[in-house]
């Protein structure tokens, strides 16, 4: 398949691995930001093929994983209402809240529907004027533009039975939060290529400079990933800490400006809790006051719901790269993809789920 196969070419992969092997003279710890990258490393068995000195730790870039528990509990309360059609991206349905998940709400009669685009949720709202249609607007800078577009369209078309439960998060503040942690082990970042496709990478030079870490914009196919690793390793070996784009076929410095405009029209920076990490100041996107009428949190009065995580789940340490999934006491035992305790076990992009699927033999389960 064009645009895929050429970036999974075994000969190129081999050549890049050899080049990385030659470049490495001592151990380095790299973090891939995006869950899609974690998934790809493990899906292709690439992590085991890297030279021994390179350790990958898996970043917080799984939108399903970092959506805070209380936001999921709010979703569950709204979805259970008889007057509501609750719409969501598919993999949010399996994320456990404090007691149940959206699947269970659906099984007990809640009208919960998977949509592929928030604009489909808007269509459902138009077709069901007697119902309240709520879209679970989660994700990073990648999903923010379509979600913002849905709100703009709802406003333009005066669709008043549509609202969004917003839990958007942004990557750069989380990168800084990880580097600020006293336990930080990350020496270089493989930045999330698709986030950069939207946002560009002009936000990164101050971070690279302040924390002295190389940041390499990296894609998702084996050849893309290895090019990112190679660039990061070369910088580390040379004592450099620069921002570099190894995903030039998709990403430009300034990013997708029309998409950024839509996001900035509808959303503004807000403080946001990250599941497993905690509050990160100005790390999220919330609706601007002029769009407050589309806020499901106020429409259904769920803003006061506050919750706490299971103490067994070490998602926070996993998402900050401090521990790997097999080091968790419940990994593969009480916590599996069909009965997840923590969010990283839920999504295909979650680090625990990726380890469970592809590397379970390491923990002997």
């Amino acid at each position: 398949m064009k645009y895929v196969d050429e970036y999974r070419d075994p000969a190129q992969v081999k050549a890049l691995l050899e080049e990385i092997g030659k470049a490495v003279t001592r151990p380095w710890t790299l973090m891939e930001i995006c869950g899609g990258q974690t998934h790809a490393f493990l899906h292709h068995g690439l992590d085991d093929m890297l030279p021994g000195g390179i350790e990958l730790v898996h970043g917080p870039g799984c939108p399903v994983c970092v959506t805070p528990l209380e936001q999921i509990d709010r979703a569950l309360v709204i979805a259970a209402r008889p007057d509501v059609i609750f719409t969501s991206y598919g993999d949010m349905l399996r994320v456990p809240g404090s007691t149940v998940d959206l699947f269970t709400v659906r099984a007990k009669g809640g009208d919960v529907r998977v949509v592929y685009s928030p604009l489909d949720a808007l269509k459902i709202a138009k077709a069901n004027p007697d119902k309240q249609v709520v879209f679970f607007a989660i994700g990073f800078e990648t999903t923010a533009p379509p979600n913002a577009m849905a709100v703009l369209q709802a406003q333009k078309q005066n669709i008043t039975n549509f609202s969004v439960l917003v839990s958007h998060v942004c990557v750069p503040p989380a990168m800084e939060a990880i580097l600020n942690s006293k336990h930080n082990r990350v020496q270089a970042y493989l930045a999330a290529g698709h986030v950069c496709a939207v946002m560009g990478y002009h936000e990164y030079p101050p971070i690279a400079e302040k924390y002295k870490v190389p940041i390499v914009v990296t894609g998702f196919e084996p050849v893309d990933l290895l090019r990112g690793v190679l660039a990061a390793v070369k910088q580390l070996e040379a004592g450099k800490a620069e921002v570099e784009n190894a995903y030039e076929r998709i990403v430009t410095l300034e990013g997708n400006i029309p998409a950024q405009k839509v996001v900035n029209t509808v959303f503004q920076s807000v403080d946001r809790k990250w599941r497993g990490i905690g509050m990160i100041p100005l790390s999220g996107l919330g609706l601007r006051p002029e769009f407050a009428s589309f806020d499901a949190e106020t429409r259904f009065s769920v803003g006061k719901i506050v919750t706490q995580e299971s103490p067994l789940c070490i998602a926070g340490e996993i998402l900050q790269g401090l521990k790997k999934p097999p080091q968790c006491s419940v990994f593969g035992k009480e916590c599996t993809p069909s009965s997840p305790i923590g969010a990283p076990m839920v999504s295909a992009e979650g680090a625990c789920s990726a380890y469970y699927r592809y590397h379970r033999e390491e923990v002997g389960t």
Binding site: M1, R8, P10, V13, G36, L42, H44, G45, D47, D48, M49, P63, V64, D73, L76, A80, Y89, G90, D91, M92, L93, R94, T99, V100, F103, T104, V105, A107, K108, V114, V115, Y116, I138, G139, T142, T143, H194, P222, K304, V306, T307, Q308, S310, P311, L312, V330, E334, T336, P337, S338, S339, I341, S347, A348, Y356, R357, Y358, H359, R360, E361
Partner: protein, 351 residues
């Protein structure tokens, strides 16, 4: 959901308890389905037939071995590219019989119809059943009809049950895989699942892809003539990944696949890349996977390729000895990963 839960200030100090409700994932053919069978059905019904977990049971009546199976069919939409619920209902049961090496003989069919269904639709479904049964060489021996109130069912559900003869020397079961066995697939993966998905509302992609739904008994007859077969299975819901995991567990062996050998149509590959699915988990309705001795593999493969539904047959892996049953994949770029069962419902990913 319980309305009596006080969400304000509610905390969850312990893991979520096992679900107390049937969810769609329990019918996905994956891990949740297995849990339901193993924890609820088998303890109550007992292991009545010794091979209750194969596609068909084999019962002995006066020295005659009969294969017996049943399957209920629910699909939305009722008509999809390459097939319909009627063809699915006939082929599903014919194939379940054929997968234990039986020659399918007769089927029963039970219709659950939602009031309001047009005769025209029902007639088209029934004609499709007639044609598929004729193709498979089985007859429909008995039937039943129930009509339920509008809203109590989704248009039309069909149950079929079937019986077939099993020759005395035939021994095909998911428990019979052996070390060094060669794994053969009869054609491309995921055609049915993606074809049905493309016909569903809300998914705006168009494809010329057709479902592979087909009766496989003639293909299997040709294979059995060509050499000894240890295992046969049709990788339906849950896909090839789930089926191979079942076989690995039943036979207590490791199965190793070669990613580069897996036949996948470009349309299926593209749809899976877009939606975040893996063709290994997408349903097939006209494919089988066979485990055979290496010395018989070439003969059986040739025989398969001469049949209508085995033209694309390919060797995709082998059985190796290990300490724990598992399925592994050698990736195209030379890495290795584990292949697990489908955990629950197949979900498109967010981005």
């Amino acid at each position: 959901m319980n309305n009596d839960i006080d969400f304000e200030g509610y905390t969850c100090p312990i893991p979520i308890k096992p679900k107390d409700t049937v969810v769609l994932g329990h019918g996905s053919g994956g891990k949740l389905s297995h849990d339901l069978i193993n924890r609820l059905f088998l303890p109550e019904f007992g292991k009545a037939a010794p091979r209750a977990l194969d596609d068909s049971a084999i019962v002995n009546i006066n020295g005659q071995r009969l294969a017996l199976t049943t399957d209920s069919h629910v699909v939305s939409p009722l008509f999809f590219p390459g097939g319909d619920i009627g063809r699915l209902a006939i082929c599903g049961t014919v194939n379940d019989l054929a997968m234990v090496g039986a020659k399918p003989i007769a089927l029963t069919c039970g219709f659950v119809i939602e009031e309001g269904l047009s005769f025209e639709i029902l007639q088209r479904v029934v004609q499709s059943m007639r044609d598929s049964a004729a193709e498979a060489g089985v007859y429909i021996a008995a039937g039943d009809t129930k009509v339920v109130q509008k809203g109590s069912a989704d248009k039309l559900f069909i149950n079929t049950a079937g019986i077939g003869f099993v020759e005395s020397d035939v021994n095909i079961s998911g428990a019979n895989a052996q070390v060094d066995d060669v794994v053969i697939i009869s054609g491309t993966l995921g055609d049915h699942g993606i074809a049905v998905m493309s016909a569903r509302e809300g998914l705006n992609f168009e494809t010329d892809l057709q479902s592979d739904v087909a009766p496989l008994n003639h293909l299997i007859a040709a294979m059995m003539n060509a050499g000894e077969i240890h295992v046969l299975r049709d990788p339906t819901r849950g896909g090839l990944a789930t089926t191979l995991n079942e076989i690995a567990i039943q036979s207590n062996l490791t199965i190793e696949l070669q990613e580069t050998a897996l036949p996948v149509k470009p349309q299926v590959h593209a749809a899976c890349e877009m939606l975040g699915f893996d063709p290994l988990y997408v349903a097939n309705e006209g494919k089988l996977v066979a485990f055979v001795k290496p010395e018989n593999a070439e003969n059986i493969l040739l025989a398969m390729r001469q049949t209508k539904y085995g033209e694309g047959a390919a060797i995709i892996g082998k059985v190796i000895k290990t300490n724990s049953p598992q399925v592994r994949l050698r990736t195209a770029i030379g890495g290795t990963r584990l292949i697990d069962m489908l955990p629950g419902e197949m979900l498109p990913r967010i981005c």
